[in-house]
């Protein structure tokens, strides 16, 4: 039982701060927050992390991981979030890479992992379908074997940043004769393959991130299959555990809450700061206490992983509570903006619009509604927890 930072930890923190100071520039920050430049800025930021060897803390050292202790991971994430720098785009580094590392063959590791580290390939996730959301295993996108190739027909939905993606990792059905969890295969598909098309989905936050991806007789070499045919569900589930851990975003919420406090301090009404409003103070406090608890739940999960235990169903709890806190912080930020929270800045300058964070607050709020839906809805997380943790 000890969470004190050692001298080495403190030295590491200084090193992280020095790196962020230099690499995380205002110019990069501006380009990252603008949709038109977001893709290139993300790649540029990730290459800076990669040059430092810090892109993939979750990977084994032999493949380019950092070999950090839990404390170092915690320090890095806290400092990164405090500086306002984003997480890495999860689809490659956090989601597909651990599956390739665990279940892929040597050729696949050599072919895909270096390109993920160097951000040459942008990945997206082909899991959900219009008819297969919470009931993911009922997916229908077909892969029919034809010689050394699979022929893919069907569609995927809610595919984040498919419009930028070079590759998609996909769950496809290779057999529909048995249980629905059987007959699912994990395929890596080149987005440039003939027959792949992407349709944008217009969302309530006004930001183009979601898409539908269609496959029309898309031919995929068998060598792009991960592991065995029909065993994709097992691989997919292990990926979901990593995904859930990454969705909690505790460090970002910590920074967000700090920001809310600062915004509330300068928000006045009737000459009084909102921070002095007892109801607001109460809500801020409740959220902060929840966050303090979840911060340690996350550390406990990371420590367990470091001791060689697999992150298990407990990751559901972290996803559940992490996203609840994100939404609480987003709601607070929007409430601080008051009557401006319903106003759209559009092309107006801050000066003309008369407010410097309301537009951001409401976009974050609406975008954040998705966090309790994606990665397995929070209802599904409760079902998993009830079944696998509580044995109900």
């Amino acid at each position: 039982m000890d969470t004190q930072f050692s001298q080495e930890d403190l030295a590491f923190r200084d090193e992280v701060r020095a790196f962020l100071d230099k690499a995380w520039t205002d110019e990069l920050k501006t380009r990252l927050s603008n949709l038109a430049t977001m893709r290139d800025a993300t790649i540029e930021w990730q290459r800076k992390l990669d040059a430092q060897g810090w892109l993939a803390p979750n990977w084994p050292v032999e493949h380019g991981g950092t070999g950090w202790s839990v404390t170092q991971t915690f320090i890095f994430n806290s400092e990164r979030a405090a500086a306002g720098a984003p997480d890495v785009m999860p689809f490659g580094v956090v989601m597909v890479a651990p599956v390739i590392i665990a279940y892929g063959n040597d050729e696949q590791k050599a072919r895909f992992l270096p390109r993920i580290l160097s951000s040459e390939d942008w990945w997206c996730q082909g899991y959900s379908e219009p008819g297969a959301g919470s009931d993911l295993a009922s997916l229908k996108c077909r892969a029919d074997r034809d010689g050394d190739e699979y022929v893919i027909n069907g569609s995927k939905i809610w595919t984040t940043y498919a419009q930028y993606a070079d590759w998609i990792f996909c769950l496809v059905r290779t057999d529909s004769s048995g249980r629905k969890q059987e007959g699912i295969t994990f395929l890596l598909i080149d987005m440039k393959s003939p027959g792949v098309s992407v349709r944008p989905i217009d969302t309530i936050d006004g930001f183009h991130h979601l898409n539908e991806v269609f496959f029309d007789n898309v031919r995929v070499p068998v060598e792009n299959r991960i592991g065995e045919e029909g065993k994709g569900w097992t691989y997919a589930k292990s990926l979901l555990v990593h995904e859930r851990l990454s969705i909690a975003e505790v460090a970002n919420s910590k920074r967000g809450l700090q920001e809310v406090r600062e915004l509330a301090r300068r928000e006045t009404g009737g000459g009084v700061s909102l921070l002095q409003d007892p109801l607001f103070a109460q809500r801020l406090t409740e959220t902060e206490i929840q966050l303090m608890a979840v911060e340690y739940t996350e550390l406990r999960a990371l420590a367990a992983i470091a001791e060689g235990q697999e992150p298990g169903p407990e990751s559901s709890l972290l996803k559940l509570q992490g996203t609840e806190i994100q939404q609480a912080v987003q709601t607070l930020r929007m409430d601080v903006a008051g009557y401006y929270s319903g106003a759209l800045q559009g092309e107006l300058s801050v000066e003309e619009f008369g407010h410097d964070y309301a537009d951001h607050a409401q976009k974050q709020y609406f975008r954040g509604r998705a966090s309790s839906i994606y990665g397995g809805s929070n209802e599904v997380q409760k079902n998993i927890t009830a079944k696998y943790v509580l044995g109900l």
Binding site: S128, I204, G338, Y339, L344, R369, A370, I373
Partner: protein, 389 residues
């Protein structure tokens, strides 16, 4: 004791419901909102023709002499259909202030124009620093040559882009947050020195920031320095209207979510068959019904001008804000990914509910007003009890 609508009220309700069904299908609404100023002038002309614009005005002004029940009926249906036309801004706020405070001659000039659908108005009261404090007003009005000159800036003025005339709350005395020393002015929006920056709200309606630089007012509404009481009264009635509108939006969302849960299948069954979701739909149903009960309570209390009116109105505004957030959040969540898209109307209703919550002060703000009111009533009672002893 009854909670029924009378014959005329049923007629109004049915005619608005018909309009909504015909004109406010989702794709049609999108086209309407995309028009200049965020609404359809042809709809507004229809409103005038059907007499809806006359409803709250007194009969001697050419109105229908409608009361709180009529306002409730109209706004609830507008809420259900997510109607974009600026009834709140032009008729209830701008028109309400003219009727409450303007000289007879001004009323006779402008109220018939509102009723005829020829005059758009807005009430400019919010400022950057004011948040929800109605009396926090820094815009100044100074007397000059028997008239008044306005200076300063108002923000998020609903319908501020389309409005031809404005009612502006300005300070003529006292300190920035005093309730006394506020005066209401009628200002022509075309007056040199008025500059407007229009933008959209998340639900599609238009708002504007309006800067006044040495702008002469057309006239004063009510007494100089006594504008706060005037605006408080009109805003109170507007709070009833926005809460009714919120209920209409909640009813729509509750029904849409219910329908979705009954038809969307996962694991081979409709998701509405899952008990965990059933209980949540019961909770949102209860939130809807609680709002309806408080709406009826506030309407009856206002109509009877009873002692319960102030408390009931605050309770309603708080409940509508909280229930709206609850139902809106659940509507998106239970629609899953579809709830995140603009292919369904869910998001637009949620946005309207959020704006309605912030209008005239959010639930947390009014909860504190409610507490202060309840405490002062209790103090008075215990004071009179101890005096009696």
């Amino acid at each position: 004791m009854n909670f029924n609508l009378n014959e005329e009220q049923v007629l109004i309700k049915d005619s608005i419901a018909r309009f909504v069904d015909e004109q406010y299908a989702f794709d049609k609404r999108n086209a309407t909102v995309a028009m200049q100023h965020g609404f359809d002038p042809e709809h507004w002309r229809q409103f005038a023709e059907l007499g809806w614009l006359s409803i709250p005005f007194a009969e001697n002004h050419g109105g229908f002499g409608g009361g709180p029940v009529d306002i409730m009926v109209i706004m609830q249906e507008f809420g259900r259909g997510l109607v974009a036309e600026p009834y709140l801004a032009t008729v209830l706020l701008f028109g309400g202030l003219l009727e409450a405070g303007a000289d007879a001659q001004v009323q006779e000039t402008y109220i018939p124009q509102i009723i005829a659908g020829e005059l758009q108005g807005a009430f400019a009261y919010l400022e950057k620093q004011s948040r929800y404090a109605l009396s926090d007003i820094a815009v100044t009005a100074t007397e000059k040559d028997n008239g008044w000159i306005l200076n300063g800036e108002k923000t998020v003025v609903l319908n501020g882009g389309a409005a031809q005339k404005l009612v502006v709350a300005a300070r003529t005395g006292g300190t920035q947050t005093d309730e006394s020393g506020i005066t209401l002015f009628l200002v022509d929006a075309q007056t040199p020195g008025v500059s407007r920056t229009a933008y959209r709200m998340t639900d599609g309606q238009e708002a504007a920031n309006i800067v006044f630089a040495e702008v002469p007012a057309e006239c004063v509404l009510g007494d100089v320095g006594m504008g706060f009481e005037l605006m408080r009264d009109v805003v109170d009635r507007a709070m009833l209207a926005t809460s009714a509108q919120a209920l209409g939006a909640m009813e729509h969302l509750q029904q849409a979510t219910l329908d979705y849960c009954k038809t969307r299948e996962q694991f081979g069954v409709p998701i509405g068959s899952f008990q965990a979701l059933q209980h949540r739909l019961v909770d949102t149903f209860a939130a809807c019904e609680n709002t309806r009960s408080l709406l009826y309570r506030a309407v009856c209390a206002l109509q009877a001008d009873s002692e319960d009116a102030a408390r009931s109105l605050l309770a309603l505004k708080i409940m509508a804000g909280r229930a709206g957030r609850h139902i809106g959040g659940e509507a998106i969540q239970l629609h899953g990914g579809m709830g995140m898209t603009n292919e369904m109307s869910v998001g637009f209703y949620v946005k309207r509910l959020m704006i309605l919550n912030t209008l005239f002060g959010d639930a947390d703000y009014h909860a504190q007003r409610f507490a202060a009111l309840a405490n002062s009533a209790a103090t008075e009672e215990s004071g009179s009890a101890s005096r009696a002893a």
